[in-house]
Amino acid sequence: MTSPFSNSQYPIYLHLLLLLRFSSLDEDCTLEKEEGLVEEEDEIDQFNDDTFGDGAIDDDWQEEHKRLAELEERKNDGLGGLGLGGLGMGGMGGGDSSTVQLPPPASREGGGGDLAESLAMLILGADPAIASVGGPAGSGDRSTGLPPPPSMPQQHHHPSQLPSHHQLTPSGLPPGPLHPSLLSYQQHQHLLRRGGAPMQQMNSHNIWENNMGFGPVSVTPGLITQMEDSPLMSIIKEVGLPNRPPPVMSEDGRDFSERAPPPRSSSPVIGSPPVRAVPIGTPPKQPMSHIHHPTTVHVRAPVHHQHRYPPSFPERISPNTLLNMANSPLCRPPFPAGVGPVLSQIQRAQMLNSQVAGFPRGCQGPPLLPGGGGFRPFFGQPPPHRMGPHHNHVPCPIIRHNTTHLHPQHRRMLTQRMQSRGGYRGGRVGDWRSRDPYSNLMTQREKEWVAKIQMMQLQSTDPYLDDYYYQNYFEKMEKRQERDRDGVRKEHTTKLITPQVAKLEHTYRPVQFAGSLGKLTVSSVNNPRKMIDTVVTSRTDDEEKREKQVWNKRRQILYTVEKMYSLLLEVQDFEKRFMQTPEEQRETLLEQHKTHTLQLYASLKEKEWDDRVSDEQCLLIMSVRKGKRLISRLIPFLPPLQAATVVMGIARNLHALAKKDKQDQALCWLVEPVAVVISSLSSAALTDLLQELQGSEGQLSKVLQNKFGVTLLYLILSEGERMQSSDLNCQLMDDNRWTELVFSVTRELLNVPPSSLSPPLFTPPNLLSLFSRYVDRQRLELLQEKLQISALSR
């Protein structure tokens, strides 16, 4: 590697280098293309190049760095070993030089020995010549050549983790922190086969996965050989990388695309069938059955199966253990979740049956379960003669493990029968097998699985109920045997002990998170929950009637209001229509209009001859919000007299209406039209109005609580004042009524507590002058304060 620098510049740059080293620790400086070793010049990763290589913007910095790195390398060579400055990282090619510094303090603390090793490795990496120093045990990361420093702390874990490779993780990928390095390991494997060219890419992958963002690390050929030597590598080669079968099989060019149905969408786990990767109807996945059936021929299906169903369990578990594991997910598929424990009991019983019955190793004899002791008395002596014919062939007649509870006599008969037939055929089997390529399309597991499903239906909690004759038959047989043997041998006096079906937890307890109110209810096929709480409130007839009445009345009012509305709308539209219709028809239209308005008014009246607005009707209508709105729209259209009566009616009933209106203050809509009406009132009428408003004792106070009431009052008063002030001949003062009324009003206003006095919509300005007429100064001031009337000059 030629360096553009002469030796004279070396010390200066060294200094700079040191500075850079310490400063770049925090920075996220991803390094440009590595340099250092000539071999990699050709193998620069394209990606790397574009981002940080020649395509990068900041050229100067790169060159600078390159130079420094080279210097560093040379310096390292000079220093050798473990000098601080020369942490051989520089030799790693490069770019690392600045950042490489830190084998993070963790590794230093992690153990001096490891550190030494890793450093030694680094140095090794730098110079192939030194490669012979030896591979330390922790050289897990050889794939990347010199492992970038962040992986150094991982090297501690490496030796411990790598042996665990053959406990394969289901994902098929190495666990956590080793991820980048092991990935590259795999890649490295490829490399070993294919050569060093793609190395850079992998390295860059490694880098991008690496948070620290170190530059790509070069791998020298010397390193490669060294890696091959490492014990770790050998382990991995031996054990095999945790590849999944699919990649291997896909290499064969088979098309599995349309094999499997799409998996069902998962349901929440709580209370529902377990989430499964494979649909429920599917037979079990084929295990690596070649281990156990060395003679069987696998054609397409087994391979397919392996691909189809993602292994939810470690692949190396034998089908035996799979089947026998009560918890095995694949054992469960045919059964509802609840049957599991039952199965296990029965399973155990059956297995022990077969166990004690003495199946040879060649069969898939299940391992003895710890619970077996209890079932011992269940059997008699295992008949020894059964061992004989079975040794030859693998597929021995197996009593299903998970079958229902057969009477031991029954089982014995079955096995005898099978043996006799199996033995007969034993010789020919091998011959057949070689000729029929389609045999064993169903694996043993699948057959057992189907059998299991079918046998499941035969499980019973009450054998005497379900199969009375069977039980009786065998009972009789037992008795017969006892009678016949009668003390000669006790072995055959076996009793049928029915395993107790475990009581399952059927009640669903809803999940409740800590600190939350209420429970999370998940409803599914297994635990249907009611989502809506429909509580039946049984009401007595009286109550119902009353409620009905109330509703009916309300409905009626609304109905009336709506009818009036339709009339009102027509009245409102009259003008528009009037404009549009030609002259001749205007007369009729006018007539129509008049009738409508009359009708409207009439509807407010109770009796036809009485011109007063019916209190009841008015109340009813006004009690409904819609009604209030209606009235407010209606009043402008009424002839003045009628409008006045309406307003009178309102005033009269205001105390009652005010109570109802508390919430939404809909009465306030009435202010405008009422104001208009008031302004057109005569003084007598005005007085009347005020009187109406006051009504009986205590009425006014209620009125005052309502916004509209207060506003109305003010309106009246201000109108009166206006009349008085404007028209000197006002008749208002003619009788004392007005004065009296005003007096009482003021009295009331003063007495009423401020809280119950509702603020009006607006305060007419001349109120003050009004009050000043009637009350003395003191009271005036009080009033002023209370009503917040601003003092205006007269």
């Binding site: 109807g281 007649p397 037939r421 089997v429 045999s439 169903m442 043993q444 699948e446 057959k447 189907v450």
Partner: protein, 131 residues
């Protein structure tokens, strides 16, 4: 319990015979089953029996829906085959079958007319009517 036995042995070493609900007899290598007793037959042969004669029609691969299976049994190839049945060609057996069906129909018709004459009418039991 058939399955119990079979799971021990290799399937499709011996042929199986299945009788279907419509009366057909299929013989072939049983390749696969499932929990519904759906069957996959390989190198199936439909055997038609008419009287003492029978004929085999090769059918290839059959998939039988489980609900249509009446019974299924293993054929023991080793047992000495001492039947009185004689195998004939396909055309012949089909012809025989046709004749047989015809004869049956005629007798049925005769029976029905006879009953009708006497004022009785027995409803014809349809083959496909299960319930």
């Amino acid at each position: 319990m058939t399955i119990q036995h079979n799971t021990g042995t290799l399937p499709s070493q011996e042929k199986h015979l299945v009788l279907l609900r419509d009366g057909r007899t299929l013989i072939g290598f049983l390749r696969s089953i499932d929990q519904f007793a759906n069957l996959v037959f390989h190198q199936t042969v439909e055997r038609i029996h008419v009287g003492k004669k029978f004929g085999d029609i090769p059918r290839g691969i059959f998939i039988v829906r489980g609900e249509n299976v009446v019974l299924l049994g293993e054929i023991d190839m080793d047992k000495p085959c001492d039947t009185v049945l004689q195998q004939v060609s396909i055309e012949e057996i089909l012809e025989e079958q046709r004749l047989q069906q015809q004869a049956k129909q005629e007798t049925e018709k005769a029976k029905v007319t006879a009953l009708k004459d006497r004022g009785l009418s027995i409803p014809k039991a349809d083959n496909l009517d299960e319930y």
